[in-house]
Symmetry: D2
């Protein structure tokens, strides 16, 4: 091993003997934000993580607008395109169905793909309700296909490092988890009634879009929820229609929610998500307080993790450590650049698809680091509990059927 | 005016014609943390804010331990000392009764002082319950004495600036308030059962000690609470007795609480306080999100205020502004040092006692910038609502009788 | 335009009519850190910036170790590989020669490529000395090929924004520029004598490796240097040989340098680079102070730019603005993700190769936003002035011949 | 010891048996910024540090403007006032002469006070040139009086902690020191020609006012300077006269300087001071890089110290620690408030006068933690070297005669 590797260049220019790399054919639904992010992830994992567990072949892409999907196919290098998802999920060549379509197609298209024996990588939310989520999990398990929900933040190196710290016991028993996922993009009352603000398409508002991520972070890092108490708000109740700004339609999802939660292990938590927080672009923040230390994470500075270890070393030198999670020995970072050369938001997606392909090709479980459809289901149970508590004004105790 | 004044030296060496400064005699109960902080504040306001509205004469100090109170009198320059608070509040020379005694004496000693016509400056909490708080407010009003609860953080320059920003409409209509007051000092299970962990003396735990401050900040900056939903936790249920560490006693107050609140103006809020957060020494953090901008404050960096104005100036240059609240034109700062020469935690207390002395000597209302006994009462109503919700698991709608 | 675009999704899933995209064939020398970074950049620019000015075809890669270069070709998708750079630069199919080889091949291979009419994209430093740099510039100009030095940090969105701010006059006349480029990777005296620590291969140490970047930032943002005064240090003078750790060799390059500089426009500057700064991974920091404001940048948080505007708006609300440079209207960001979804170090390289391909295919000048070989030459003049001043102990006035 | 002490309440309300506290009579010259700061410090040390080594009696204050000095005497409680410093330094009652007068009186008044056997606490700069500084040191030593220069930043708790860390060897051998002291108050060309901008009164500009402090920090933390190379700048060469704004006078001091320095121990340093840096209010920043770690300090956040220990604990958890220097076991902090309750700029002055009074009453040396007149002299030698190098363009090697 050369000296450069020691400072983090491990897979940079190495003459690794490469055996034949197996190939998996990707069939993706959607070409907007998530379609772009996933396509980029497949393309990058093919050469950045070397050798990859499997090479992703960008086989087919599907979208309703033919002109647009054609351009997307050309752009990312998909060999085929479809305008009807049923054609995609029944194409016998497809190994992996990547469901990056609208939320209200998550259930229907995924269940069909499972029936056809496809492995399914599904954008969150897994479904529009917990019942559908349970069905998907059971169907996938029965069929024996791999299934993963794209809770991509599990694959941020700093988040994985946090997971390792919690598991190692270095911060001790957990007392508190507090998380916020705050954005600012719909504060203007004239911002139109886009699909994310419509219950029939999106399922819910800030809760399902942003809250889902911090619910998953909580489950990933702390454990299962026992009960929730919550309040939800829709600050702007009517908005201009996208196609006819002179008319207004009703916003029937939440603009924000806040919840007090209790975990099964006794920890106390708070969760909050909103799209009404000026200055917060994509601010996912959480903090864990344990009996021996604390951890803090901010997605807008995702290369850093703040860790406070109360019981390590000289007392007068104890302070919150701002760890640059960019060393070659930090999770995933050996695949990238020398330390201090930061990665971006998209890189977690690269790690996520790498993980799924690895699980598929090597027949491994996506758990515990990846989120299975069971995780997708359970996070929907929590969301429904929050919504119920907000409506009834009562503490809701949660039950998981699978 | 000299050139130095322009950069913030206004009262530094100025030959202000000083007329006779009126004197007010202070009689204080308590010589521990708060006694020290208040004594320091009286001594400093006498020369830092020049000329002061009134000169505070450190007249008498009271505490149960004669030896200790004698030393305290000598240390701070009090002319007399008492070991029984009844002697203090009936001393005809005392103008202002400063109640820095234990929480369970707040009501009894203050009500007696009011009866004797003393102006009362009372440490928070105003009383052990809302009912007592209401009585104190009504008694003081009836007697016509000035009354103020020491919610000292209202007098941090950055907090006052935040108040001015909210009032000016610069951040628009308020959608969110989220506050945390986190400390770390009782995480060790062997930390003893001190008075702050006993309900009979302290009234409550993190809720009354820390939560009270952020409840007041919320009321000061956003408005009245409409409803609360909350959870409370006592993580360590038994602790060694201070005087007999071999025996354990029951902790009957909360170690932490978390609440989701709704304000009368429709804003959504979260409040959390804990003494179980490693790395958080005296971390009071809050954030306000409005329709035009946001404000953030961190007590551990109290000379700074982060303000985001979404609608001001060139869009590409918009960002959260880290304002050093140390300019001579910032609240209270003309009395101190040139800009960039930061002040500490104790300085807010100086401003607070200055304000109260000014109100007494010039017969002004302590509201809206100071917290009156009505504010003290209302914050107790909120605390009781939180405790009730935590117990019943139900949303509690609040009612204020005065 | 849909509503989502307004919040930054502009090129995400758009059905842009795409005409035939011209193709340029890349021949690259080197497959280590820079070879990986450039290959990644070509691959990504092909689909992220849509449509790209030209499609980069990964045509040929060259390296001395056949086994390694073969793997690299397979990894990134190069069609051919060479083990002798002379074969590469004389391959008639090659349009663009990307010189990511060792520093001591920059001059030789680039001059040969120019003779063969290739456009040359050369890693920094352009050459081992200013004289060679001048020759390269003159040769490229005479031959009429495009030439660019990979001062990639010019293509960080926040840096480009800083450039725009300076040019707009928003911070006024410049008084100060201070820059540091600090790393930590050779502090251990047993770290071996790698090529970067040998003058014959690397040319210089921290000065040429790190200093070159901040010299370029200074020239890009402030203007030409007039004079320099400097000190250089080699803290560890002997190190183990990489291939024979029992023997030691002499470190004949600098571990660190510091310089005081004066710009032609009268501004005062400081420059410092070191590989001996624990805790600084890849810390490039600079600050500009002008008559109307200041700008600060930190490469380890490259998605942010701190801007202080002294004369804008309400005085009490003035503070350093932490701008998240991730809006769709910020430089380059429309090509990536919604705001708040940060980019990484590698993305600047994507923008840089895009720029060069655009200049080649559309016959544009790489200046002023890209660094031409003239810029490469001038930065070498500054480096030589610094080395001379460090040796003589005298202020050195700089002269540029081209 | 009660449980509260363990979390930092040590001297709060303690019944320490207090013997008779000796008294020292202070005679102070000056009532502007420094007069206010010193008076405040004497008053506070009398009760905050309990029991103090000696009680400071505010005996006499002196200033040219009788009306102003009379008010100042009343404000701070001085028993007498003088308008001629010669009367002050010859008053037989004065124990300690506090020279907070204008720079051009530092030498003259201090030398006279020494002759009269007064202990002298002198504001920096000790004198207008090194020669005068040497004389003062020799005179004070000969007379046997205590002498201290008010390099107050040595008494900031975080700075003292840094000193302890360096001395303990925890960051190893020192390679780098870089310091900046940046302010913004004279950028406006219409800011008048105040005394600080006149060489006859102030001696120098940013160099002596701000540079002096970082020179002292360097000497305190790293060691003696060996050589300097520097550049100085006066950006605005003429300014309106304070008393007649229609006329302009020449600025004959520096607006800014920058220097590259070498220490006797081989460390490389940079120093920079300016009054032309928008956004920097009172920004004193320095960083030390050693073979085992780094330390960073920012005066605008003086309660924090950033420490990076490269060799302590689990590698993946290493990061720069943000230490809140507010624990009762941190330097000086036991005298103040519970941890997390921050102190301000003025507090270092309280510690400084406490130290001097302790040295006087207990006949201790002010060194090594306090700055003696020898330190004052040596820092003037460095300043003169910087000025010489800036003028000659040559590296200057420094010599210390005492």
């Amino acid at each position: 091993m050369s000296e450069e590797k020691k400072v983090g260049f491990v897979t940079m220019g190495e003459a690794t003997e490469v055996e034949e790399i197996p190939t998996l054919k990707i069939g993706i639904l959607g070409y907007a934000f998530m379609g772009k992010s996933h396509s980029n992830a497949y393309l990058k994992q093919n050469y950045i993580i070397w050798p990859p567990a499997a090479k992703a072949e960008l086989y087919a892409i599907c979208g309703r607008n033919e002109e647009a999907v054609k351009v997307a196919a050309k752009r990312y290098g998909y060999k085929k395109y479809y305008t009807n998802w049923k054609d995609l999920v029944s194409d016998p060549e497809v190994d992996i169905f990547d469901n990056s379509g609208p939320n209200n197609l998550h259930y229907e298209a995924s269940i069909e793909a499972i029936k056809n024996g496809k492995h399914v990588f599904c954008e969150k939310p897994l479904a529009l309700n917990a019942q559908q989520g349970k069905e998907l999990f059971l169907a996938a398990e029965e069929k024996g296909v791999k299934h993963m929900v794209d809770f991509n933040y599990r694959f941020v190196p700093a988040v994985r490092l946090a997971k390792e710290i919690v598991e190692s016991g270095e911060i001790g028993e957990i007392y508190h988890f507090r998380a916020q996922y705050l954005q600012e993009w719909i504060i203007d009352p004239n911002f139109p009634l886009v699909w994310r603000l419509r219950k029939d398409v999106a399922g819910s508002g800030a809760l399902g879009d942003l809250g889902a991520h911090i619910i998953d972070m909580a489950r990933f890092l702390v454990g299962e929820f026992a009960s929730v108490m919550a309040q939800m708000k829709t600050f702007i109740k009517e908005r201009p229609l996208p196609d006819n700004p002179d008319k207004k339609g009703t916003v029937d999802v939440d603009d924000a929610f806040a919840a007090v939660v209790e975990f099964e292990n006794g920890a106390l938590g708070t969760l909050e998500a909103s799209r009404f927080c000026h200055g917060r672009k994509n601010y996912q923040y959480w903090e864990i307080n344990g009996s021996k230390g604390s951890i803090r994470f901010n997605l807008e500075r995702l290369n850093e993790l703040e860790v406070y270890l109360a019981k390590e070393g000289e007392p007068k030198l104890i302070g919150a450590r701002d760890i640059m999670v960019t060393e070659s020995f930090h999770p995933f970072m050996e695949h990238w650049w020398p330390h201090g050369h930061i990665i971006g938001w998209e890189h977690a997606q690269v790690h996520a698809v790498y993980h799924f392909l690895d699980c598929v090709v090597n027949n491994k479980s996506v758990e515990p680091y990846g989120a299975s459809f069971r995780d997708g289901y359970r996070s929907l149970v929590v969301e429904e509990g929050i919504a119920e508590s907000a409506q009834t004004g009562q503490r809701v105790f949660l039950k998981y059927e699978v």
